[in-house]
């Protein structure tokens, strides 16, 4: 299953769906980095609203994505983590530290705007 990645000005918005296998996640990682380079994006939003389970692999992959995108000089924000998913994550000890998070798409965009203004 492919994750749709849309361009919105300087930013990219990727919308993750529910049943993503490990392989799908790895493909996504490659596709996203590729697109960041191609579009010279300044920021990326990964919307996980539909993700019903965030396990250790998903968490690790998202952190790797953020790291790789940072190397390209861009900022990543994870948005839409569901309350129950957040609860399960902290039980497992997955805190997504060093990755920015926001409530939803609107907040995520606001965060990226703020970030790019302050570094501009």
């Amino acid at each position: 299953m492919e994750v749709p990645i849309l361009k919105q000005g300087d930013f990219l918005i990727a919308t993750v769906q529910a049943a993503l296998t490990d392989e799908d996640l790895l493909h996504f990682r490659t596709a996203l980095i590729h697109k960041v380079v191609l579009c010279r994006s300044r920021g990326v939003i990964v919307d996980v609203t539909s993700l019903d389970v965030m396990d250790s692999f998903a968490s690790r992959t998202l952190r790797e994505i953020a790291q790789m995108i940072r190397l390209r000089g861009a900022e990543t924000v994870i948005v839409g983590i569901q309350p129950e998913v957040a609860f399960a994550m902290v039980q497992l000890g997955l805190t997504l530290e060093d990755v920015a998070t926001a409530l939803d798409l609107e907040e995520g965009l606001a965060h990226l705007q703020q970030k790019s203004e302050s570094t501009a």
């Binding site: 049943a19 392989e23 019903d52 389970v53 965030m54 396990d55 039980q91 497992l92 000890g93 997955l94």
Partner: protein
């Protein structure tokens, strides 16, 4: 509604299948949405361990009846290399990088009861239970 579901775990797609089946079963039994997420997450981690360390195995989901309530039992079984020091595995903090170890202490926090039996070179069986609140 079936009383027992068996899911073979041989690939990463099976991880997704197993946790989705777990969620459906939990929902059918009337577990809260939050608890169903905990169950699905636990299944995902246990299935993942099977793939990572044993290449293949199975997850068995069973409806169980306690003295005053119902619950789900998860059994994750493989015939892999086994865990040399189970006590240590249960003690090691699941590091926040998420990349070290089996994450067993983490899975333990997701469920109500947790047991693990492992024999070197023979395999590992994890049995976990979550009761409906």
């Amino acid at each position: 509604m079936e009383n027992e579901i068996q899911v073979p775990i041989n690939s990463d797609q099976d991880i997704v299948a197993a946790r989705q089946k777990g969620r459906s079963l939990a929902a059918a039994l009337g577990f809260s949405s939050g608890d169903a997420t905990l169950i699905a997450t636990a299944i995902s981690e246990l299935a993942r361990n099977i793939i990572t360390y044993a290449k293949s195995g199975e997850i068995r989901l069973t409806v169980i009846n306690g003295s005053a309530r119902q619950g789900i039992q998860l059994v994750a079984r493989d015939q892999g290399p086994g865990i040399p020091d189970v006590q240590q595995a249960l003690r090691d903090g699941f590091s926040t990088s998420g990349s070290l170890g089996l994450g067993l202490p983490g899975v333990k926090r997701l469920v109500d009861e947790f047991e693990i039996a492992s024999v070197e070179n023979r395999g590992t069986t994890v049995t976990a239970k979550k009761w409906k609140r």
